[in-house]
Point group: C2
Chain length 326, copies 2
DNA sequence: CTGTTAGCGCGTTCAA
DNA sequence: TTGAACGCGCTAACAG
């Protein structure tokens, strides 16, 4: 930086000022500095900057799994906006493990991030303590309804589950089941299952919740359907924990000669890309994962500029998308 | 850190030494320091450490899109291993834009990363210059065959395309087409298409390459198939730029009453999770995205410890997985 | 608008 | 094995 200052015939602190607020420097000095930076190929050392300022333009993001299309979409849209404003994303997977989450939070902590984004409202007690004591914003995403540490952006999975049941009942279905994968770890899928069962019960209809211990997959669908039919051979309406499972269900039904939706109506969750173009197309619940990412990015940018200060709970909602399968 | 030193009755530099090489400190001092760290909830400031040491345990990773399951898988497996060794991943999407890639590389540069991971062998000239001059390892992934900047981990997409054509020809197919999405931006998909056409030509069989400008999707498949059939109504073998498009093709064929594989054989690329369980199941090419991530993580760890020094080109290969569709 | 000054929290000599 | 000194490259007052 002092090399740049020498080349531009100004002091290092003027260069520093120019880098942080170009408008605070005279046009002449600014031009000279810009030229020197270009000529010398100067790249600022953000560590030194961060150390001096005690904050960095880094946002820590922790998700259960990047292989999950929901989080990939959210992180993607969030990162696109943040990077446009000079922020970077430091990223980690927990694989649905609380201990791994704690490690990642701790690691991110030591970079004095501008904000920390976590998935869901559930964390290890130590993680919560660490985050509560932190002096930067914490955003919990993809879940609403509990007590957030600071900010929350997402929607109620319980309500999404209710909406699925409501839809099937409206379609005249009377013997329901919820097919869920990995629900012992995925709290949000479990919340949807519970909402589904609660709504069905409120309408006097029994709804079985069928579990599969492995991650959501098209493969899981075959086992889930077999178990659901064993419990109730006259099943006529099914919700799945997400569209991947629903896709598998479509394939499994076609193999078994079960007609969708004539014999069994299917409603998924996620509105993944293929859902509109499968055969039959998939009735599902769209959660707006990209909007979650955008809202979080805007929130963090506003917070960094001191524009907002109050803890927010932003409901990005969801909609039922009715298509061929239910 | 000096608080810890006070609490443990040693000097700060002893604490520093303990943190970096616990074995270099006496058992008594070590125990006292460990206790003090625990009691005070001390979290090291990695910025200060990085500044002093002129390097950090950060790895910069730049991919075209995290929504792409291939990269999500690679990043996921890479991050799992790296984080286990105290390394963090700083991550960015380019959206297949060279300029965005340059920005991300520049941003990552200023954190003195332990390594930089990029996707593919093609970059803006300025990006290449920046990276060549850098004094830390550069890994280019998911492509082999060109001239890497430093290290490369991946496989030849040209060969993968040839393998797809070879498979269809072996199955007795004589009128081929390659259906590709976004190939003007996705060089690797284009390489597969070219390999496909080259192999077909070598065997005296014509193969049409059909382009779709939008990203790979099940939706794209309908348009692609329509255009391919317009060019050759007697088409009997098709390769797609990936399994998503192949999935869409299965649906579109079932809508049109085209039998797969009887009328048209289909081979995809990627071996995504659903491919084994679709109906018919999908013949495809498996690229081992998780292995790419693991190899890169190991390479970076070895490099960081000075265990390897030579520029490596690691071929993770691919296999043709024969299933129902071809 | 520009330059001066004093750290940010730690790693790395080196001497003890 | 430990401790003192020094500096990594920059930001943030402040004074000019």
């Amino acid at each position: 930086m002092s090399d740049v200052a020498d080349a531009a015939n100004v002091s290092p602190s003027t260069v520093s000022l120019y880098l942080r607020r170009p408008s605070a420097v005279s046009r002449k000095a600014g031009a000279a500095i810009a030229g020197a930076i270009e000529a010398l190929g100067y790249v600022p050392n953000l560590m030194a900057g961060g150390l001096a300022a005690a904050r960095t333009r880094v946002v820590g993001v922790v998700v259960p799994s990047m292989r999950n299309a929901f989080f990939a979409e959210t992180v993607s849209s969030m990162q696109a906006i943040l990077s446009r404003h000079g922020f970077q994303v430091m990223f980690g997977n927990t694989d649905y493990n609380d201990e791994a989450e704690l490690q990642l939070v701790r690691a991110n902590l030591s970079w004095s991030p501008s904000a920390m984004v976590l998935t869901g409202l559930h964390h290890a007690p130590l993680t919560r303590d660490l985050l509560r004591g932190a002096d930067y914003p914490v955003v919990e995403m993809w879940e609403l309804g509990g007590e957030p540490i600071d900010h929350a952006v997402g929607f109620s999975h319980h309500e999404a589950g209710r909406a699925a049941a409501r839809h099937l009942v409206r379609k005249g279905r009377k013997r329901l089941a919820f097919l869920g994968a990995r629900m012992h770890e995925d709290r949000r899928a479990m919340q949807r299952a519970e909402g589904f069962a609660a709504e069905a019960k409120a309408r006097g209809i029994a709804a079985e919740i069928v579990h599969h211990i492995k991650p959501a997959s098209t493969e899981a669908a075959a086992a889930l359907l077999a178990r659901a039919l064993a419990k109730d051979p006259h099943l006529d309406g099914v919700a799945t924990s997400n569209d991947i499972v629903a896709l598998g269900l479509l394939f499994e039904c076609s193999r078994r000669g079960v007609a969708v939706p004539a014999d069994i109506a299917v409603i998924g969750f996620g509105d993944l890309e293929f859902s509109a173009f499968s055969n039959p197309s998939l009735t599902t619940i769209r959660p707006f994962g990209d909007v979650i990412g955008e809202e979080i990015a805007r929130l963090i940018l506003d917070l960094a500029e001191g524009k907002r200060r109050d803890a927010a709970a932003i409901n990005t909602g969801f909609v039922v998308v009715e298509r061929g399968s239910a």
